[in-house]
């Protein structure tokens, strides 16, 4: 590198015979004496006569192997170093340190601790064309690369240093990395959303998308299927739900539909499910009527909790169920059931149970007989009456209108008028008491 470069300033000023291309050896230089520009040239630096004039000069280092012919060499500066020949130079050259500064004249070695030039690295600026030309025949080795940079200073400037420290401050750093982008995004989003038409567009888009998704076929419900014990109830529930198909399953509020289905008196419980195939399945558990309640002029079926089940047209339609009457009767239906069970021996004669004043029960029998039961202990009182009527006394088959058990310690009977007359007569006859 240095050999060629040292010629560089000299020869470039001269006109080249072949149009600016380099000719080597220079005829002028060949004829010139060994002293040029006042500097004595060492004889070793001159080309050997055997290579003269077509071969470039062989470097005197490393020495040629003994006995071997010196191979003609290209310029070291532009050749790729041969590993064997340059083995010992590898330690010298620092390939990771590129050449800085100008060629030939190191303008400023810079401030790096490592030497600023690598002795045997190929010229970094030499392009492939220049390399090839140089190897072929001593072309212009001046690199076509970028202009050499001024001295390299690795130290950060004061401003860069301060900015770097600022960047390493956690608060600033977090703000710049997270806070500022968020702020910017929020500002843009806010500015955009401040226009009502933008907001409307967004809500419209959302609604449209939601509608589109909800109207997908997999969400479509096309029919209803009500499973109930009686077809009347099933029909009633279907009518009550009042759904018009097809509709999306997203529009169905099953909880609300269930509440609506259960609002029907005959329905005790309802289970709703959207089955595959787009069918809304409603399973109904109906109320089982336990008694008939004569509510004023109408007959209602009530279940064993006292809840109304359905309207009954005639008593004869459900002759198997006992009849209760009076205000507040359904509320005390459990007591009525207990009384009904306890009155099993006289069930054939019972026409119904009447709630009196919403506090106590009357048992109404045929033949206008009536058993008045107390508020508390009605069951025991009825059992006593049943025992009296079933035993030897045959109480209820006698001419009694009312068995008054309202005072359990003092049961009272009311006889019919004929029975009373007969009783009076009997007493008079037996005791001789005057006629009253």
């Amino acid at each position: 590198m240095s050999a060629l470069k040292s010629r560089d300033p000299m020869n470039s000023a001269r006109t080249q015979p072949n149009g600016g291309a380099w000719l080597w050896p220079d005829p002028q230089e060949v004829t010139a004496p060994a002293v040029r520009a006042g500097r004595p040239v060492r004889s070793g630096a001159l080309p050997a006569s055997g290579q003269w004039p077509s071969d470039p000069p062989a470097p005197f280092w490393p020495p040629a192997p003994e006995g071997g012919e010196r191979a003609p060499r290209a310029l070291r500066a532009v050749e790729t170093p041969e590993p064997a020949a340059l083995e010992e130079y590898d330690a010298l050259s620092l390939p990771e340190e590129p050449i800085r500064g100008t060629f030939g004249f190191q303008a400023n070695p810079g401030y790096s601790a490592a030497p600023a030039q690598a002795l045997h690295a190929p010229m970094p600026g030499a392009t492939a064309a220049a390399l090839g030309a140089a190897q072929a025949g001593w072309a212009d080795p001046v690199p076509a690369g970028p202009a050499p940079s001024p001295a390299f200073d690795p130290s950060p400037s004061r401003l860069a240093y301060r900015l770097n420290r600022l960047w390493l401050t956690p608060l600033v750093r977090n703000f710049l990395r997270l806070g500022l982008p968020l702020l910017v995004v929020a500002a843009f989003a806010g500015a955009w959303a401040s226009k009502p038409e933008n907001r409307e567009m967004v809500t419209g888009q959302i609604a449209q998308t939601v509608e589109w998704v909800q109207n997908q076929p997999m969400f479509r419900v096309t029919g209803i299927e009500v499973e109930a014990r009686s077809p009347e109830v099933a029909q009633g529930v279907e009518q009550l739900l009042g759904l018009s198909f097809p509709l999306s399953s997203w529009d169905l509020d099953l909880t609300e539909l269930r509440a609506r289905a259960e609002s029907l008196d005959a329905v005790e419980r309802a289970w709703l499910q959207i089955r595959s195939g787009g069918v809304l399945e409603v399973r109904i558990a109906e109320r089982v009527p336990a008694m008939i309640w004569r509510n004023g002029e109408v007959l209602d079926l009530v279940d064993d909790e006292g809840h109304r089940v359905a309207r009954l047209a005639t008593r004869a339609a459900r002759a198997d169920l006992p009849l209760i009457a009076g205000a507040g009767a359904p509320e005390a239906i459990s007591e009525a059931q207990a009384l009904w069970t306890a009155a099993a021996p006289i069930q054939g004669r019972i026409r119904g149970l009447v709630r009196v004043g919403e506090r106590r029960w009357d048992v109404v029998l045929d033949r206008n007989q009536r058993i008045l039961l107390p508020e508390t202990g009605a069951l025991e009182a009825l059992e006593r009456v049943v025992a009296m009527s079933e035993g030897a006394q045959q109480l209820l088959s006698r001419d009694v209108t009312i068995v008054d058990m309202r005072q359990p310690v003092r049961p009272t009977l009311r006889l019919t008028a004929e029975a009373m007359t007969e009783l009076t007569r009997n007493r008079t006859e037996t005791r001789g008491a005057p006629r009253r």
Partner: protein, 444 residues
Amino acid sequence: MTDLYESQRAMRNLRRQAMQRGVIAVMDIGTHKVACLILKFGASDGPQEGFGVGNMAGQAAFRVIGAGTTCSRGIRFGEIAAMRETERAVRTALQNAQKMAQTRVDHAILTFSGGDIRSYGLEGNVELEADRVSENDIARVLDACDTPDIGHGREVLHAQPVNFVLDHRSGLSDPRGQAGRNLGCDMHLLSVGTDVVQNLIHCLKRCDVEVAGLAAAPYVSGRAALVEDEQELGAAAIDMGGGTTSLSIFIKGHMIYADTVKLGGDHITGDIAKVLTIPYSTAERIKTLHGGLFATGQDDRQRIEIGGNSGDWDKDRRTITRTELIGIMRPRMGEILEELRARLDIAGFDHLPSQQVVLTGGGSQVPGLLEMAARVLGTQVRLGRPIRVPGLPQAATAPGYSAIVGLCQYAAHPQDEWWDFDIPAQMFAARPLKRAMKWFRDNW
């Protein structure tokens, strides 16, 4: 003296504050390189002291999280010669270390070898006030040490109590709580040029970093390079730097002498450059790669291309043999070692029970130095590397980093200094009253 006392106390407070914050930088501002390490205190995953692990000398407490090294600029003989240049070098090292640590540091502890370090041995003696040694007595006896005339424009860098004497019992390291009547103390005082220190502090201030402590390079490199028994039995640590070669003598775990020779590796480089007329950078590289101190026959055959940038083919193609290079380096190294020998003789190193010499610093890597130093400095010579501290990069385990590694230790486990004890000023105010009470008690 008092303002120095105050400034050293202020630095100590800064150091404590920085340690509470958890991050502190240590910087070695040398002639050849400026190195910076960033230490993180508190969170340590290194070995803990305990079973099987000996005294870790406080190393378990910190971890190196950042390191930056750059060639120093504008520094000669360990002192700032061009402030702006030095500031750039410090900025480079700090920024590299901060980048590696991903944190910023606001406090730095410095070490340097310039400033013409001089070493003094002081002693003081006081009567105890009570029958046992209290903290106050320590402060009083340190205060009673007669300060020598350290010269104009100089101030105290280190003032370390190295020995306590209690009623003819010498060699006490911690006399607090012991019974006695008379307490004496030996103190080692290291003085340094004020301007050098002020320049360094100003330079760091221009880099937005506050100086939280100062330490002399021979002291901290001795702490890093000497193993514990060498510090106990007595040894000299020689830190061969770029511009200065510093020397510290340790015994019983304390430094008792420190000195610097204003000769170093840069002078060897300069010799090579001048003799061969090559640039300093090339000379430095040739010295580093091919340098040596003992020539052999093989070295006559090994040729070194020294290159050049003159543009003259002949000049740039020069080669020298390694023997020539050794011939250049050897006399300068011999001069350095002779100078060190003279300083060791002044310090009375011959009278120490152990004559161990430990060579460390970047200059100690020259091949053959051990043999050469053994001829000059005595037979017990070894090369020292800094101890291992957690998180230290592999590149910073070379001998050239022993000063900064020692500074890490110093930051984690500072030696007690004079100013670490309260100034017994309040005692002066209390003394007349106490004296009056004593007079009353004696006369009534």
